[in-house]
Amino acid sequence: MALVDLELDLDVFAGPFDLLLTLILREEVDLLEVDLADVVITYIDHLERRGELDLEAATEFLVLIAALLELKSRLLLPGEEIEEIELDPGEAAEELLARLLAAHRYRAAAAHLRERLEGEQGSRFRSAPVPSHLRKARLTEAHAVYSPDALAGAIGDLLQVPPPVDIGHITVAKVTVAERLAHLRTLLRRGRFTFSEAVARSDRVTVAVTLYALLELYKQGEATWTQEEPFAEITIEAGRALGRMTA
């Protein structure tokens, strides 16, 4: 049996896997101290070295390691219940044995099912759809099962025009282009300023309207601007028209 060959070198134990199991069951090694992940890694290395998979041994190992993990997780559960969960070695061994037996049992049942399926390979079933003319329900067999009111109700619902979308929760822009034009002209009279200064502490709508107002001023020649690179700060100053006007 390949499991016997599985040599472990863990922090708390060095030796064959089956001995570790025995010692755990005799409580000579504390399951809580055993790094089960290390056991699994050792097992995988072991499989790789052998280069072949002994299915029987692999199943047994998986069932045992899963059962150990479950026992360990139960031991790790915090709280007063810990007394109750503590397993005596006999019980733990019986539980592991029961697991192994169940695994064997269902593996044998699985083999039986596979044989059964194999034995049925020769019989196939027809899976054609029933011709549609044979599927149509006959009128004489039909009787009222639906309420006509359901149809009227459905049409009534469909006739309802939905209320207009409620946009009350959206802040309606209270700012106008005229207001922002006035604001920008005030700033221009004081000299150079940046766009950020012009829209400091403003909401998005105000920013948008301000930009629109600025474009309007540029078009009129009242303002001109410079921007070093995209998304950089925009510096605004009076344009030629305004200059002429003030000149």
């Binding site: 759809p129 067999e141 309420s147 006509p148 149809l151 009227a152 309802q160």
Partner: protein, 210 residues
């Protein structure tokens, strides 16, 4: 050997839902084409003389088995039970639109509902509640309700369809209903809300009759 071939062909035709060509049958059985044709002929005779429940039929694509017409009444009793599970809201809406506006096209149903009516219409067709009733001037299939529909809803005729709450049927009846439904549907599509589903359809008072 030839009885063996007949038996194998019988099994192959049993398994195939579509007609199978004699050549394909020859390939599968390893027999010559003329042997296959002869064996199929014997199979046909066997079914006929022994009064079996099947027929060998030669259709466009090849050979197929079907049941003898004598079996059909029992087959309908076994297989053609009207399928009447509760209608889903989508099915009820689609059926209601067809019932009140027939004939009506699928695009129109979709416009009124604000969503596609494809799968609901397919189910209603399959259950025999609606049927193909010609083509619109634009080539779309027009649906109408069937006799089975009347029976399953306990109606003697379409005139017995209940009136609609909030709708005066005495007016320019059908065209107006159609227009109003379309307007409501477009409004719904614009808003993106599904139509309200009536909680208790049976509670809607009927306005017709007058």
């Amino acid at each position: 050997m030839s009885a063996e071939l007949e038996r194998t062909l019988e099994g192959l035709l049993f398994l195939s839902s579509d007609p199978v060509s004699a050549a394909a049958l020859a390939d599968a059985t390893g027999a010559e084409l003329h042997e296959v044709v002869t064996a199929l002929e014997r199979l046909r005779e066997h079914y006929e003389f022994e009064r079996r429940g099947f027929l060998v039929r030669e259709l466009a694509g090849g050979f197929t088995l079907s049941t003898h017409p004598d079996v059909e009444p029992a087959a309908r009793r076994l297989l053609a039970k009207p399928r009447t599970p509760p209608l889903t809201p989508a099915q009820a809406e689609t059926l209601a639109i067809v019932a009140y506006l027939q004939p009506v096209s699928r695009p129109e149903i979709a416009r009124i509902r604000g969503v596609s009516a494809e799968s609901a219409a397919a189910t209603l067709l399959e259950r025999g509640l609606i049927e193909d009733g010609g083509r619109s001037q634009f080539g779309a299939v027009l649906y109408r309700t069937t006799e089975l529909f009347l029976k399953l809803f306990g109606l003697r005729s379409l005139d017995e369809l209940p009136g609609i709450e909030g709708f005066d049927p005495s007016a320019e009846l059908e065209q107006e209903l159609r227009d109003r439904l379309l307007r409501a549907g477009e409004a719904r599509a614009a808003v993106g809300t599904p139509p309200a589903v009536t909680q208790e359809p049976a509670g809607a008072p009927a306005l017709s009759g007058d």
